[in-house]
Amino acid sequence: MSILIYAESAEGKFKKTAFELASYAKKIAGETGDTVTAVAVNAADASQLGKYGVDKVLNVKNDKLTSFNAKAYADVVKQAVQKEGAKIVILSSNTDSLYMAPLVAAGLEAGYASNVVALPESTSPFRVKRNAFSNKAFNITEITTDVKVLALAKNSFGLVEASGAATEEAFAPTLNDNDFSIKVESSEKVSGKVTIADAEIVVSGGRGLKGPENWGMLEELASVLGAATACSKPVSDLGWRPHSEHVGQTGKPVASNLYIAVGISGAIQHIAGINSSKVKVVINTDPDAPFFKVADYGVVGDAFDIVPKLTEKIKEFKAQNS
């Protein structure tokens, strides 16, 4: 039997989450005595997955699948599951994977648990821990169907290198016209900037920055750290920053390694959205701001003074340590 992961790639390159899924699946496989198979679409170098414990890669090469299409991709994964007789199917929490996961699950009549944050508590019965109530609580879910579909929350397991190599196998699933009934007309992507979804570090600003004209210093801090920029809900509602940067319960979730909140008081909805970040730093003039209750490190003071200084300090640090 095998555990199947969907290894997401963009322009032929695997996303980091693909390696995280491989690491996670390998760990489960070690306990259940299974092997790990990955299905990839138009990946350039499928063998990379072997480094993280994948035994076999089904690499689908198909020009029709150049741009993501949830129905067609779900069909690919379903057929890979059936071919391999996989009982556990694991996807990431990237936007595209979350789009297709319920289609995969419904097609396989499989129970599906999203936002999974840890290894299964037990595999028989099959129980996983997942984020619920917008990160304010965990929920232990039992999947009762024969085939189980999981979406692993980003950054919840990490990368674990394994010895061994992956064999590559060509795989040509059957696709039909109906898979392509939704057409992609165009796509707009910010280029040259780290996206919130991919970022290891996120620098986020709130109303305390007083106006959109003051974002330059945040962008500079972000650039020095290789971070994405984000903002609180009021800032996006005021139109200071685009909606795509709004993080929080009704905005984008953040699960970065480091989250730096500047001039954000820390409303419960904001905290819910960013709470999966590993380390949180707050910079705020108000020592009673609720963010200090959830942060790991805090600086009480004026952002306009602290942020440029911190940027300089990090520049110096990077210069010494690179």
Partner: protein, 248 residues
């Protein structure tokens, strides 16, 4: 156009989350329930279609009698009628099956749900519903235009957006962007009064399997206190982030 808007009845975003009955159930004590925010953006867009292009808007919830107040609020915002499927919404697959039955019997062209509810955050009902109906599905939808049977939509992707085209029938997993926050409607007195007269039909559930079961809930471990660093000693912050937290 006949639009069905799926409404989850969820705790207000400011709610304190607690559990009861040996941590097996959400403690509703003192909790205010609202229309799931992702659903409210979709509902507002549906009412826009009704007002601008002519459409009939039905709202549906799978839940107990306590969800009726939330459905009445959706009627007050502008939906024409409401349906409640009288069942405990414990499993996404089960809920999707109930909704599929409602869609089939009502011949809806467009089904708008939120991409996820803010209680269980399953993010599975809209996709499973589309799959079970054989309808197209667009998730994380941030713009939706319908012209006759033609649909133009946009969805959020990591780092940007993608514009899509398709045809009705369609299921949407919606979110903020379908309409803006400022476009959300607060029901006025007239809306609330007329909502009382609108039909709210209660249906019994159809037989469907559960595929998952919530066994128990846990709250995150309490957090240790924040380490404060003086604004005059930012070297220390860099040092902590590097040597202690190991994130830079």
């Amino acid at each position: 156009m006949k639009i069905l808007v799926c409404i989850s009845h969820v705790p207000d975003t400011t709610s304190k989350i607690n559990f009861t009955n040996g941590d097996s159930e959400f403690d509703t004590n003192g909790v205010q329930f609202v229309i799931n925010p992702n659903d409210e953006f979709g509902l507002t867009r549906a009412v826009w279609f009704k007002e601008q292009q002519g459409a009939n808007v039905t709202v549906v919830n799978v839940g107990g009698p306590d969800a009726e107040a939330t459905l009445r609020k959706a009627l007050a915002i502008g939906a024409d009628e409401a349906i409640r499927v009288n069942a405990n919404p414990t499993d996404g697959f089960f809920v999707a099956k109930q909704l599929a039955e409602v869609v089939k019997s009502g011949n809806y062209d467009l089904v708008i749900a939120g991409k996820e509810s803010l209680d269980y955050n399953g993010g599975m009902v809209p996709g499973m519903l589309a799959a079970s109906l054989g309808y197209d599905f667009i998730n994380s939808c941030i713009n939706l235009e319908v012209n006759g049977g033609d649909v133009k939509a946009a969805r959020e992707i990591d780092g940007g957006k993608e514009t899509l085209s398709t045809k009705l029938p369609l299921v949407i997993g919606g979110q903020k962007g379908l309409v803006e926050e400022k476009d959300l409607k607060i029901p006025n007195m007239r809306g609330i009064m007329t909502a009382r007269q609108k039909a709210l039909t209660v249906l019994e559930p159809v037989a469907a399997n559960n595929t998952t079961q919530a066994v128990k809930f846990e709250k995150p471990a309490p957090k240790s206190a924040v380490k404060l660093v003086s604004p005059d000693n930012l070297d220390e912050l860099v040092n902590l982030l590097h040597n202690e937290a190991k994130v830079i």
